[in-house]
Amino acid sequence: MCGLSSGLYELIIKMLDFVVWLSETKWSIGLRESLYLYPWIESTHVLSICLFFGTLLFVDLRLTGRVFSSLSVAEMNRKVLPLTLFGFLVMFITGLLLFYAIPIRNYQNIFFRVKMLLMIIAGINALFFHKRMSNEAKVWDKDSFIPGSMKSSAITSLVLWSLVIIAGRMIAYNWFDCDRQPQPRWINTLTSCEVDYSLFEGIDGF
């Protein structure tokens, strides 16, 4: 357990070295200091929520039987899922660029870390979901019966992606930035901020 946590700690520090290097590259500085490019990338990132989340809503709710019930699950997926995936691709590319523009601040941002964690969970849910769907969807369409576990997976997907949107929006408002001290120790641990606590001696709670 101790080995695992020290290994994790090393990885986190190595990643920090990497993001510091990233932040010093020419294109990162250019993006960060751009007057219009950064806002345009961010607007595209936000607009693609409509494509990704908005269409996922129909795909997931179809599985609960609440919308498009006269279309089969397979048909619904064939028609709407390409839009969802396209939306995800746009979000992914613009998201990478947004990270690249401000690497250190994002890396040490607690909301960014929560968002990444939520996306991993949502990804695992989607994999499970998709695998089962491609194996069994034809059977459900024939019997017009969808197993309860698929319905809960669909709802889980919507809840997780809503939380991703919330965490994502909070990134810009992060009030736990490393340079906003004092913060509780557990926050600084979660954000891997290196803080000299001797500076806060005498302040309540430190």
Binding site: V46, I49, C50, T55, L83, I165, I166, M170, W175
Partner: protein
């Protein structure tokens, strides 16, 4: 009503209890804004699916009236969530918004968008066939894209 009177109204709106309350918290504005974005996703989904259908990009073999029936409740749901969250966001910084060009562009297009959907697009979906519907879908899609994009630009000004 001249612009000075409007500005005075915006000042008093900013002074309301809700405006003060949202401003007094560091996390309330971001949290409300997050739900505003989820509302955008829901409304956006209904717009994307309906308008792309009208532009013949998806659901080509399915009746457009059926798509309208399935998407219209999400339009209302998204718009309601956007409105409920949009009002406190507005009240918390009404004076800044008065001077924001993006805000006025957004509000103008929002009014046009709602009127267009309820009085032009939806009635035509039920009554009309043919190539004109491609134009209707394109117009609706464009108006709502401007609403969403200019909304995001409020934050940059």
């Amino acid at each position: 009503m001249d612009s000075k009177e409007i500005l005075e109204i915006f000042y008093s709106l900013e002074d309301t209890f809700i405006g003060e309350y949202v401003r007094s918290s560091i996390w309330l504005f971001p949290v409300i804004e997050s739900f505003h974005l989820i509302g955008l996703g829901i409304l956006g989904g209904s717009i994307v699916v309906m308008d792309l259908k009208l532009m013949k990009l998806i659901f080509r073999d399915i009746d457009k009236i059926y798509i309208l029936e399935q998407t219209k409740k999400f339009f209302v749901l998204g718009l309601s969530l956007l409105f409920i969250t949009g009002v406190p966001l507005f009240l918390s910084e009404a004076v800044k918004l008065y001077y924001s060009r993006a805000f006025w562009i957004k509000m103008t297009c929002l009014v046009i968008g709602v009127i267009f959907v309820y009085f032009v697009r939806n009635p035509l979906i039920i009554k009309k066939q043919g190539a004109i519907m491609i134009v209707v879908g394109f117009l609706s899609f464009s108006i709502w894209t401007i609403v969403a994009a200019s909304g995001r630009w409020i934050g940059f000004s």
